[in-house]
């Protein structure tokens, strides 16, 4: 990180952690200190481990999954678990295990790409709004107000309905364009504090341009809130994608999705008599979201040890 002590925000204090007595002797850099604090957090490490397992499980699918997740078989619907179909088959005769593994790829891709889109939009608009202030700040903040007041799921549903024929790319772009206000607000708050700090005045006095100040001083000092909020958004988006697929507004069949797999549980027979058909995707969503939340909590505590909950 460059620049002297940064400011604090509502969610995460961006101030570099004050080294403790022992750590001062070893004189860790702020980045090393953050990494050290992160890996000292058992839940965060467990989160990384769980998340890596989910990623490996989902993306190494071709190595151990024999069935095509989209292949239907009307003669073999609702099959029970067997050596051929480890988790049985669904109402279309598709292999549940293959859909579980490939569905993970979709959820993770959606989560990561939306996180990237939202972070970029949030950083750009948050930087402009927080650094420049004035009328441009007012306009950006009123637009964020509009997005934040609207019941989120309804807004997404309306847009998805209007677009029709949604695929992964359209869903990612749509959600990315709707979810940015939260991170923008948080970054604006961070920038409002940062821009009044001495090192920013010094940079201005030294003749640094606005772009340079933002890129070299503001963003590096706001990296904590950016990363922590990015992880929160990723977890939220995985839940949202599965919720949309669950109610039939997400990625259309035959593309596998955890949410669409859970939709089978709407049938009472499957809900009560075939837990293998809907439990695994639910558990995978829970594991993935919890692991990302653990990582997010660990990062928050690593960037701002004062924020840790007791």
């Amino acid at each position: 990180m460059s620049g002297p002590s940064p400011g604090s925000t509502k969610q995460v204090n961006t101030e570099p952690p004050m080294p403790e007595a022992k750590e001062q002797k070893k004189s860790y850099s702020p980045t090393k200190l953050i990494v050290k604090r992160f890996f000292a957090n058992k839940l965060a490490v467990a989160g990384v481990f769980m998340f890596l397992l989910v990623v490996i499980f989902s993306f190494s699918a071709p190595l151990f999954v024999e069935h095509d997740p989209a292949q239907t078989n009307p003669l073999n619907t609702y099959a029970e678990p067997s050596a051929d179909h480890w988790l049985g088959t669904n109402s279309s005769g598709q292999d549940n295990f293959a859909r579980l593994v490939y569905g993970g790829q979709i959820s993770l891709q959606v989560g990561v790409f939306i996180m990237l889109i939202v972070s970029v939009i949030g950083v750009v608009l948050g930087s402009i709004s927080g650094y420049f202030g004035g009328w441009i700040d007012s306009i950006i903040m009123r637009v964020t107000d509009l997005f934040l007041i609207f019941p989120f799921l309804l807004l997404v549903l309306t847009v998805v309905t209007i677009l029709q024929n949604v695929n992964v790319a359209i869903l990612v772009i749509t959600l990315g364009l709707i979810v940015w206000p939260n991170i923008t607000r948080i970054l604006r708050g961070t920038y409002l504090t940062l821009r009044e700090r001495e090192f920013i005045y010094s940079a201005r006095a030294a003749g640094a341009t606005d772009l340079r100040i933002i890129m070299k001083h503001m963003i590096p000092n706001a990296i904590g809130p950016i990363i922590v909020n990015a992880t929160i958004i990723m977890a939220q988006m995985i839940i949202l994608e599965s919720a949309l697929s669950f109610i039939g507004f997400g990625i259309p069949a035959p593309t596998p999705s955890w949410g669409a797999m859970l939709n089978e549980a709407r049938s009472l027979n499957i809900l009560t008599g075939m837990p293998w058909a809907w439990m695994p995707p639910g558990i995978m969503i829970v594991i993935t979201v919890l692991s990302i939340n653990f990582i997010g909590d660990g990062l928050r505590d690593a960037f701002d040890p004062k924020s840790s909950r007791k």
Binding site: R142, D145, L146, I149, F150, P151, F152, L153, L154, L157, T158, V159, T161, I162, L163, Q164, N165, A235, I239, S242, A243, F246, I247, G248, F249, L262, A265, R266, L268, L271, T272, P275, W278, G282, I285, V286, V289, L290, N293
Partner: protein, 308 residues
């Protein structure tokens, strides 16, 4: 307060305009048939967009908000479905506030393993998908029925039991959120001089919590009610969808092209009822604004009473 109300009114108008602009986006549908399926491809048509918007504005000018697909007035439609959802929201809000406050009291009052577990469960639940929790609860209840537990109706909106079941499901997540907020606010009061003085006098912890900490934290807690309400609205769709509760959210979902059964002769997804979508979304937005304004008014009243 006047400026706040004007701001809210301005935002409300902007939101409604945005809803109309989104709902009437031009969708010039072209149907394509491939092997076993027929699907529509929507293309943008700005001329059509202008025509649809001007038709809608003219209709509003003539004193009508439009009709649903069955030719009934949208307002009659709204009255039928929204009244059910309002009752559900009302009961769920009361349950959420009551359980949330009780859980926060328990979490703050006690420090043992049960209180710690209760707090962890509350925080963890917020990270889970609401629909998955609802499915699991339904499965557990159905399992209980099979074990001889007295049976009651879980689905629909006509029986009192199904109505209460939906209300309890709807209150699950908001009550956890509310409990976390109340517990954090109560904890933030700890260490205050008035509490140290009261403890010194030997006042019981339960009295301290309810009579002093909770009373002093009330303005901060009331300010969080609009956020809790947003949780409630988001969960409402899943609850109505999973319990077949025919409420306003379910109706909105239906108006957006939800196809309930594949036995229908024509896919529902091409029957998007724009006037219904606009009116129902406006209804939900208005609810959000009313709760926002109510929360602000309540905060002012409580704060003034405390100061006086």
């Amino acid at each position: 307060m006047r400026i706040f109300l004007l701001q809210q009114l301005f935002l409300w108008v902007c939101m409604v305009v945005v809803v109309v602009l989104i709902a009437f986006l031009p969708r010039d549908l072209v149907f394509v048939s491939e092997e076993y399926e027929t699907y529509g491809i929507a293309t943008m048509n700005m001329q059509l967009y202008g025509e649809r918007l001007s038709e809608y504005v003219a209709m509003i000018g003539a004193g009508s908000l439009g009709e649903n697909r069955y030719g009934t007035s949208v307002l009659v439609d709204l009255h039928l479905y929204a009244s059910r959802s309002l009752q559900l929201i009302g009961i769920a809000s009361i349950i959420a506030i009551f359980i949330g406050t009780a859980k926060a009291y328990f979490d703050t009052r006690y420090k043992g393993i049960f209180a710690r577990s209760s707090r962890k469960i509350g925080q963890g639940m917020q990270a889970l998908p609401d629909f998955f929790i609802i499915i699991v609860v339904q499965m557990v209840v159905l399992w209980l029925f099979r074990q001889g537990f007295p049976q009651f109706s879980l689905y629909g909106n006509e029986d009192l039991s199904s109505f209460l079941f939906a209300a309890v499901l709807l209150s699950l997540f908001p009550s956890m959120y509310f409990a976390n907020i109340v517990a954090s606010t109560l904890e933030s009061e700890e260490g205050s001089f008035y509490l140290i003085a009261a403890k010194g006098r030997g006042v019981k912890k339960s009295v301290l919590l309810i009579k002093h900490q909770l009373a002093n934290a009330l303005p901060s807690i009331i300010q969080q009610i609009p956020i809790m309400f947003m949780y409630l609205l988001s969960n409402l769709l899943m609850v109505e969808f999973l319990t077949s509760f025919r409420g306003a959210m379910y109706r909105t979902y239906q108006a957006m092209g939800f196809q309930e059964t594949s036995l229908e002769s024509l896919p529902n997804q091409f029957y998007i009822e724009e006037p219904v979508i606009v009116v129902y979304l406006t209804f939900f937005i208005s609810l959000g604004f009313l709760v926002n304004i109510g929360s602000r008014v309540m905060t002012e009243i409580v704060t003034r009473r405390r100061l006086s």
